[in-house]
């Protein structure tokens, strides 16, 4: 595994290091992190991920020569061997996994660097230096698990990574579990923890599906190794394949926040912004997409499964896009946008357009990470303004009327209604945010344009119904991004803190700039006519990636729609918003689109009451069931009837019976009897021990006579 040895042929043997480098980072930070300065901890963690990225690059270079890739069994380690189940701890190096490694570690590195600066503010606000180390240990652990997930050679190892990232997600969503009032987020510690719990439980439902799929696969194919499964799959019955793929879809829906399990992702924004960017936008949530892409040979066997997956993706894309329109929280809006974009990807891989899905996955990682990080930058900028205002430099009434406060009654730095006009205060952030938004909206020639258009073109070709869903979703995408840009950066500041917002340091903005560059040029990965990524993934995808022809019609249509949406957005949120702001509070609509959408907006604002619906459908039922079980079943039946009456009662009766006739009569008789007997016996012995020598001699004689009698007469 030495570099020199490896370089002689290729770098494939280095693949375990994509996992080991972050592990090393964790170990260093765990062992000596307590003594290191804050920055050093972040630097070590970032370097660990960067080293991982470097390894991924080397792997990619090697793959360039040897397209087929390889499977590296780690130290020939047989991981599990029970009966027929033999699973090696093996890493899979092929173009698909390496693409994921590059995306994860590349974006991960940038976000780590960003987090060095971002989390500094957290520490400053909370006076708790240890949490800095905790954050980076979790962050590195996430990279470890994500790398295991993407480099796995079998479904069980993939599941380890799958669960591992779920754990890290849970830990990091609830990272501010101890946060009291007045933090940077509008949720307090308990609701942060609850958000983490929600994510975990929802994911458990998905994991349940994935596990069932794994069991089914083992049952049907006797193996969990990818190649073996794919080789044997064509011989399995259609029902088996459908069951496997649909249970797997449940897992995908959980992890990649698809209908109906997407509900955890918006709440997951309770975590620190770098977490939202890395885990809940760029990488972890795409694991489901990766899983479908990895298993595309299974899905290809069942057109029903493909249909369902594509529909789920398409519906999610549209559904989440509509909700995004009604959000005021800067991060929540992006969260719904992420769900929507994940829907695009899932739809793509579901249709069999693997390349398009992965392409969008990569470009989305760039621009969504960029958007989240920029949002973090905006939040910190506004908070800095709020902080400056609170601490004396500006002598005015503390809060202006009309400011939007969070649940704790404090100023909410994440509410876009409190922003406005930030383009002058935070120019760098503004520019990169704009780039990210345009990329997301799919404006030529930014990255999002190419990848989204490829999906749309494929959809038109493969699944027209989904195409309709997706193109409407694309329209909404452009619209809500325009709304966001305008609410944040244009017109006049709508709160005092926004007036005093500050641009952030270079350490924080540098990753933004790099990501912005990637968002601009990311489309170059798979430009029409060149199809770099298509050819690259072709080496891995069994049936060969279809080189879709560039569809000018689709491109034109989507561009027109996007531009229309932008125009509409500017119309609504430009002058009209300013005009409405002057209206008295009672007549002022909640949002400029409200008068047009009316009831629909209420629906959007309440996220179509899905949470409430789940609450009614599942939680209430569940609570009712537990109530039933606890009161009716446990208390009344189990406790009152079975336990108290049947068991305790009969026990009491038995005990009574045992106590009165049996115990008093027999047992007590025996116990007392034993006592009495032993007392009688003892006193009898004492009487026998009468002090007379001759009597003693008689006993000796008696003993001897009995012994002799026994021996002779026997």
């Amino acid at each position: 595994m030495l570099l020199r040895e490896a370089a002689a042929t290729n770098y494939f043997n280095l693949v375990p290091w994509v996992v080991f480098f972050p592990v090393l980072g964790i170990l260093i930070n765990l062992l000596v992190g307590g003594r290191l300065r804050e920055k050093m901890i972040g630097v070590i963690a970032s370097l660990a991920v960067a080293a991982s990225f470097a390894v991924a690059v080397l792997l990619a270079l090697s793959l360039n020569d040897q397209h087929a890739g390889t499977i590296i069994a780690f130290m020939n380690l047989e991981w599990i061997s029970i009966g027929d189940l033999h699973i090696d701890w093996a890493f899979r190096v092929d173009t698909l996994s390496v693409t994921m490694m590059l995306a994860v570690s590349g974006v991960g590195t940038l976000i780590h660097i960003y987090a060095i600066a971002y989390m500094h503010a957290d520490v400053r606000h909370h006076q708790d230096p240890t949490r800095y180390r905790r954050f980076f240990v979790f962050f590195n652990l996430f990279i470890v698990m994500m790398m295991i997930l993407v480099s796995a050679d079998n479904y069980l190892m993939l599941f380890v990574g799958w669960e591992g990232v779920g754990l890290c997600s849970y830990l990091l969503i609830g990272f501010w579990y101890d946060k009291g009032k007045g933090g940077a987020n509008h949720l307090d510690g308990i609701s942060n923890a609850l958000a983490g719990k929600k994510a975990f439980i929802t994911n458990r439902i998905g994991d349940f599906g994935f596990l069932i799929a794994t069991f089914l696969m083992f049952g049907a194919f006797g193996s969990l190794q990818f190649d073996t499964v794919f080789t044997k799959a064509p011989f399995a019955s259609q029902g088996t394949i459908l069951a496997i793929t649909l249970f797997m879809l449940l897992g995908v829906a959980g992890k990649s926040a698809q209908l109906p399990l997407y509900v955890w992702l918006p709440d997951a924004m309770a975590g620190p912004t770098p977490v939202s960017a890395l885990i809940h936008a760029a990488t972890m949530v795409t694991a489901g997409v990766y899983l479908v892409a990895r298993s595309h040979e299974l899905y290809a066997l069942s057109s029903q499964a493909q249909n369902i997956v594509a529909l789920v993706g398409g519906l999610t894309a549209l559904f989440a896009a509509t909700i995004a329109v009604g959000q005021f929280d800067i991060k929540k809006l992006l969260a719904y946008s992420t769900i929507s974009q994940l829907g695009f990807m899932v739809a793509a891989v579901g249709m069999g357009a693997i390349v398009a899905g992965i392409f969008h996955l990569v470009t989305h990682a760039f621009f969504k990470a960029l958007l989240f990080l920029s949002a973090g930058s905006v939040i910190q900028g506004v908070e800095a303004g709020h902080h400056a205002m609170e601490h004396g430099s500006i002598k005015e009434s503390k809060h202006k009327r009309g400011e939007h406060l969070n649940e704790g009654g404090e100023f909410d730095a994440q509410d876009m209604r409190n922003m406005g006009g930030l383009s002058r205060r935070m120019p760098v952030t503004f520019v990169v945010y704009l780039v990210g938004a345009l990329a997301l909206a799919g404006i030529f020639p930014l990255a999002g344009f190419w990848s989204k258009d490829e999906i749309l073109a494929e959809a038109l070709h493969l699944h027209p119904a989904v195409f309709v869903l997706l193109i409407i979703a694309a329209f909404f995408t452009a619209f809500y991004m325009t709304r966001q840009i305008w609410m944040i950066f244009f017109s006049k500041p709508r709160s005092r803190p926004a007036e005093y917002a500050r641009e952030n340091s270079l350490l924080l903005t540098l990753p933004l700039i790099l990501l912005a560059v990637l968002s601009v040029f990311g489309g170059a990965l798979n430009l029409p006519f060149w199809h770099t990524l298509t050819h690259w993934l072709d080496y891995t995808l069994a049936e060969g990636a279809k080189v879709g022809s560039f569809n000018y019609l689709v491109a034109g249509l989507s561009t027109v729609l996007a531009l229309a949406a932008i125009a509409l957005g500017i119309f609504l949120y430009g002058k009209r918003y300013q005009a409405q702001a002057k209206l008295p509070a009672a007549q002022r609509p909640v949002d400029p689109v409200q008068p047009y959408l009316r009831g629909a907006f209420t629906g959007i604002q309440h996220k179509w009451w899905i949470d409430e619906f789940y609450d009614w459908l599942i939680l209430r039922r569940y609570v009712a069931l537990s109530r039933f079980l606890s009161y009716r079943f446990e208390e009344r039946f189990w406790h009152d009837w079975l336990h108290d009456n049947a068991i305790a009662g009969s026990f009491r009766q038995t005990a009574h019976f045992l106590a009165q006739p049996v115990d008093l009569g027999i047992i007590d008789g025996i116990a007392n009897g034993l006592g009495t007997i032993s007392q009688r016996f003892a006193s009898w012995i004492r009487r026998a021990q009468n002090g007379f020598v001759r009597s003693y001699a008689t006993w000796v004689l008696a003993g001897m006579v009995i012994i002799l009698g026994y021996l002779i007469l026997r």
Partner: protein, 100 residues
């Protein structure tokens, strides 16, 4: 020549007499004499068997036993004298303060 059985039976009778004496007599000296009778019954058996096996060992044992008996007499009589001094009696039934 008298058959060995007679000696053995006689010795058994003597032994039994000795035991009975121990059990029914109350005077410590008589009890002790009964014990001596038991020892001597054993002596008789020894001699009889020695003659049967035609060897000296059994007869030598008798001397050992007589020596032991003499030692016991010395100790026993001394004890009785001491007790007589204290209690003015050697009736063993009066020596029953230790019991229970």
């Amino acid at each position: 020549m008298v058959a060995i059985e007679y000696y053995v039976i006689l010795s058994a009778i003597l032994f039994t007499l000795g035991i009975v004496g121990v059990l029914i007599r109350r005077n410590a000296i008589v009890i002790f004499m009964s014990i001596e009778l038991m020892l001597n019954s054993a002596n008789l058996a020894f001699i009889a068997f020695a003659r049967q096996y035609n060897e000296l060992n059994g007869q030598v044992f008798v001397f050992f036993v007589m020596t032991v008996a003499a030692a016991e007499v010395a100790v026993g009589l001394a004890l009785m004298v001491t007790i007589f001094r204290t209690k003015h009696s050697i009736d063993v039934d009066q020596l029953s303060s230790l019991k229970g």
